[in-house]
């Protein structure tokens, strides 16, 4: 699998060679003896889900993180990188998702900052701008006025200026970290034009993106990481999308196929007023306008890869982010949900995917963490009486079996699984009608995972609507009655769960190259009439199905 790709000269030496590199953070092995190589004149995609070690590897290559063991060879020489400046000196430049330039300074200066042409009287601005113009022209950006302020350009143009800047130092390696996440299709094409041009000039390009289509459009070679370990290096033509996804999420293709759903057919009557209905809900750069419905007593799974828009959609539903199009109706009534507090007032609770940063307040006790949301909902004027607090805390800690059973212990000292249970308690304490759970089982042990899955099923049985988001598709398939499938910030389909739906069939919908193919795949799945795509959301034809046994 390491044959030279057509665009790579045979026998060319790798410009970057990472050998057995390990990086350990307290408690986490972020990179575990990962080897990786980058050849001149190729576009190499680095793929992996959350926590796979992509950003750690980039940070090792840019000198932000020190490596614990192993070595990094650049152009055959072992290098000890200590920061951006030393990486640049070694010939590695990086362009990040957020544009790290100075908007108040001129375009030309942003390109040249730190490399200005100097004459007898300090910086020679005329020559500096002329040089900037030359560099920009190499990127086919010759039409830009180097003296205009950077802020007068569009984000896409700024991104290209950032790449121009990276090339000022005659870099041999260009790292593009999610460069396209805020660009539209045309802008992506312009960017890719520049990338191909650089590749043809012999620059080695490391491309990181969540957009599968873009990876397949531009990359020559793919390296997949998972859980800090190397899964493999592949030529693009040797690895189809389905294979790539299964490599990323860590289930073998065959085992994915074998893993059928234990879910029984669904027989919910969806003609009633949904608990929550979103029509055309969207936010620029986060998620395209989307229709979603959640009924009472139903578990709706959001399936999609990292960056597909699954979290973004949940955040819009909860009011954590403001939608700029569309509307939400709660129980048939129009609801303006512009903040998490407004979401709570409408009975919508959102448990974040980022437990440590946005979820727990590490220094507060378990008790206080449970009470936070309820107190916020009531307002600070109406304190929850101490007696009630104790009762609630007692109830939830027992119900979920939080260990250790000590409400006064700072939550930061609990294990991930127990933290998650406490957070679940926090949101349930507000008595929500709809619970949005974003990656509730990430990074927790198997026992806690099963507990949480069980709780979700119980809650739905009790009449609560639940939206369940997880990178583990099997989990989504096992729990959900309906699965909303997202890709590239768009909802590409919706599947009503049933015996013939499996993680593999969801993968094939995501992996389908185009929308029509996705629809086709969904149609195939719907051969037993239990499936709909988002164009036909008449889900009421499932009356012939078997019992509603939710398996957890």
């Amino acid at each position: 699998m390491t044959k030279s790709s057509p665009s790579v000269a045979a026998g060319s030496h790798p410009i970057v060679e990472v050998k057995d590199v390990s990086i350990t953070f307290p408690g986490v092995k972020a990179l575990d003896r990962v080897s990786f190589r980058l050849l001149p004149g190729e576009v190499h995609a680095l793929m992996g889900e959350n926590g796979a070690g992509k950003s750690t590897l980039i940070k090792a290559l840019t000198g932000v993180y020190e490596i614990d063991s192993g070595s990094i060879l650049i152009d055959g020489r072992e290098r000890h990188l200590t920061g951006t400046a030393s990486a640049q000196e070694a010939g590695i430049s990086t362009v990040y998702q957020e544009i790290n330039l100075c908007p108040n300074l001129s375009v030309g200066e942003n390109v040249m900052l730190g490399h200005e042409v100097r004459g007898w009287a300090g910086i020679d601005w005329r020559r500096t701008h002329a040089e900037a113009r030359t560099v920009l022209a190499r990127m086919e950006l010759g039409h830009l006025d180097p003296r205009a302020p950077l802020s007068s350009l569009s984000i896409a143009m700024q991104q290209l200026v950032a790449i121009s800047r990276a090339m000022v130092t005659d870099s041999k390696v260009l790292i593009l970290d999610e460069p396209t996440s805020s660009l539209d299709a045309n802008e992506v094409e312009v960017l890719f034009g520049v990338v191909r041009r650089l590749r043809d000039q012999g620059v080695a390009i490391l491309f990181i993106s969540h957009f599968l289509d873009q990876v397949y459009a531009i990359a020559d070679r793919i390296t997949v990481l998972r859980n800090g370990q190397l899964v493999g290096e592949f030529l693009v033509q040797d690895l189809d999308r389905t294979q790539l996804i299964s490599k990323m999420i860590g289930k073998d293709f065959e085992s994915l196929k074998a893993l059928g759903s234990t879910r029984q057919k669904d027989m919910r009557d969806r003609s009633t007023t949904p608990l929550l209905a979103a029509a055309g809900l969207g936010r620029k750069g986060a998620i395209d306008p989307t229709d979603v419905e959640v009924h009472a007593g139903e578990v709706v799974g959001f399936a999609g890869l990292l960056g597909s828009g699954r979290t973004e959609l949940a955040r819009l539903l909860a009011g954590a982010d403001k939608a700029d199009s569309g509307a939400i109706t709660v129980k048939g009534e129009k609801a303006g949900i512009g903040s998490p507090v407004a979401g709570l007032a409408h009975g919508i609770a959102y448990s974040t995917e980022n437990r440590r940063d946005d979820g727990i307040v590490a220094d507060l006790s378990v008790r206080e963490n449970i009470m936070l949301a309820l107190q916020a909902r009531r307002g600070w004027m109406r304190r929850v009486p101490a007696k009630e607090v104790d009762k609630l805390v007692q109830t939830y800690m027992q119900r979920f079996g939080v260990r250790p059973n000590d409400p006064d212990r700072p939550i930061g000292l609990l294990s991930g699984g127990n933290q998650q249970k406490v957070l679940l308690g926090r949101w349930l304490a507000t008595g929500p009608d709809l619970l949005l759970l974003d990656e509730p089982t990430r990074g927790i042990d198997v026992g806690a995972k099963a507990d949480i899955q069980e709780t979700v099923a119980e809650l739905a049985e009790g009449g609560m609507g639940v939206v369940f988001i997880s990178s583990e598709l099997e989990e989504v398939v096992r729990l959900s009655e309906r699965i909303v499938i997202l890709k590239d910030h768009r909802k590409i389909g919706e599947v009503v769960n049933g015996p013939e739906v499996s993680a593999q069939s969801v993968v094939s919908i995501i992996a389908a190259e185009s929308e029509e193919l996705a629809e086709q795949a969904a149609q195939e799945l719907a051969s037993s009439d239990s499936t709909t795509t988002d164009t036909t959301t008449t889900d009421t034809t499932n009356a012939d199905s078997a019992s509603d046994g939710r398996d957890s």
Binding site: L113, G114, G122, P149
Partner: protein, 356 residues
């Protein structure tokens, strides 16, 4: 002030470039787009001229060599402070210690000279003491990640405390100290009666500092790095700019400016020094910098703008003195009002900039 067209070298298009062939309208639009950054400074300049004209019309004898030279000579220490402050503020920092450092440096310098140390060496020590305070503040900000506000506040208390420890009385430099020379009046233009245009070596030093700072900020890589740090230190770091080194130098420069301002000020008061010198000067300097169009959020501003800002404050004092009916207490209120107007203008402009 006549130097204002060189406030920045960016906005003057060279005719050789392609845009020369464009229509006049497009050219103007381009000039406008390029030059927006120094609009606040232009507004300050307009205000300054307006105040001068008003003073001339209302009280007379303003556009008058004697008055002008008094204005400039009196402004010299504040000019030097404002230059240092501008550099710090463009880097998105602040230096609250300047007034106290002037006091300490002044008292310490005069006392050192009193022990028989060579006067010129004494002056050098004064500047070095200022730089030392800057170094400590810079290391605190950069290495220990202390907010500039807190770091320089600490330096302010330290410097003021040390000055008070040295003396609470007025101390005087020896008769033959270089302070005497620094305050000499050089007559450049001999007008009728008192209408002479005179400068002092202190003013010359201030002008040299201004010229040096303009060169530094616009013609050296480190100066440009100051702007980069001001826009976003994280970005500057990722762009591979030497953030740590530059940031420490910024505070050293501001400290050295305080030391130099102490030299010039002490000379202007015949070599006497007190521990209460420079109370509130840091705020005057900040006000001058802001009036001159520098954004407190960093990343944008001009040294020459701050020169205009200092002169605005000077002329305001002049008007109040000339008028005679305005209670001097109103000076602070008027200063506050002018400051407020300028910050508002900047806010509006910044918002417009974002909307584009």
């Amino acid at each position: 002030m006549t130097a204002s067209p060189t406030v920045t070298d960016a906005p003057t298009p060279t005719p050789k470039e392609p845009e020369a062939q464009e229509s006049r309208g497009a050219g103007l639009a381009r000039l406008w787009q390029r030059g927006q950054g120094f609009l606040p400074t232009l507004i300050a300049l307009a205000l300054l001229l307006g105040m001068l004209i008003y003073a001339q019309v209302a009280y007379g004898r303003v556009f008058h060599a004697g008055t002008m030279s008094d204005l400039l000579v009196g402004a010299a220490p504040m000019l030097i402070l404002a230059v240092g402050m501008t550099i710090v503020i463009i880097s998105a920092g602040i230096d609250l210690s300047v007034g106290a450092v002037v006091a300490f440096s002044s008292v310490a310098g005069v006392m050192i000279m009193g022990t028989g140390v060579n006067g010129w060496l004494g002056l050098l020590i004064m500047v070095a003491l200022g730089a030392l305070f800057g170094l400590v503040a810079g290391v605190m900000v950069q290495t220990f990640n202390v907010q500039p506000f807190i770091a320089t506040l600490a330096m302010m208390f330290l410097a003021r405390g040390l000055a008070s420890m040295l003396t609470t009385d007025v101390v005087r430099a020896p008769e033959d100290s270089p302070f005497g020379w620094l305050a000499t009046k050089w007559k450049l233009y001999d007008g009728p009666k008192v209408n002479d245009f005179t400068v002092t070596p202190g003013l010359v030093i201030a002008v040299l500092v201004v010229v040096g700072a303009v060169f530094f900020m616009h013609r050296t890589r480190m100066g440009r790095t100051v702007y980069g740090i001001g826009e976003s230190a994280a970005s500057a770091q990722l762009m591979g700019l030497p953030v740590a080194r530059t940031r420490i130098w910024i505070y050293i420069m501001s400290g050295a400016c305080s030391g130099l301002a102490a030299v010039v000020y002490t000379a202007s008061v015949q070599g006497s020094a007190r521990n209460v010198t420079g109370l509130g000067w840091e705020l005057d300097a900040i006000a001058a910098v802001v009036i001159g169009g520098t954004l407190l959020t960093g990343g944008a501003g001009y040294v020459l703008g701050s020169v205009i800002g200092v002169m605005v404050l000077q002329v305001m004092r002049l008007i109040i003195t000339k008028d005679g009916t305005i209670d001097p207490q109103y000076l602070t209120i008027i200063t506050g009002a002018v400051l407020l107007v300028f910050v508002l203008v900047q806010r509006v402009l910044a918002r417009k900039g974002r909307e584009r």
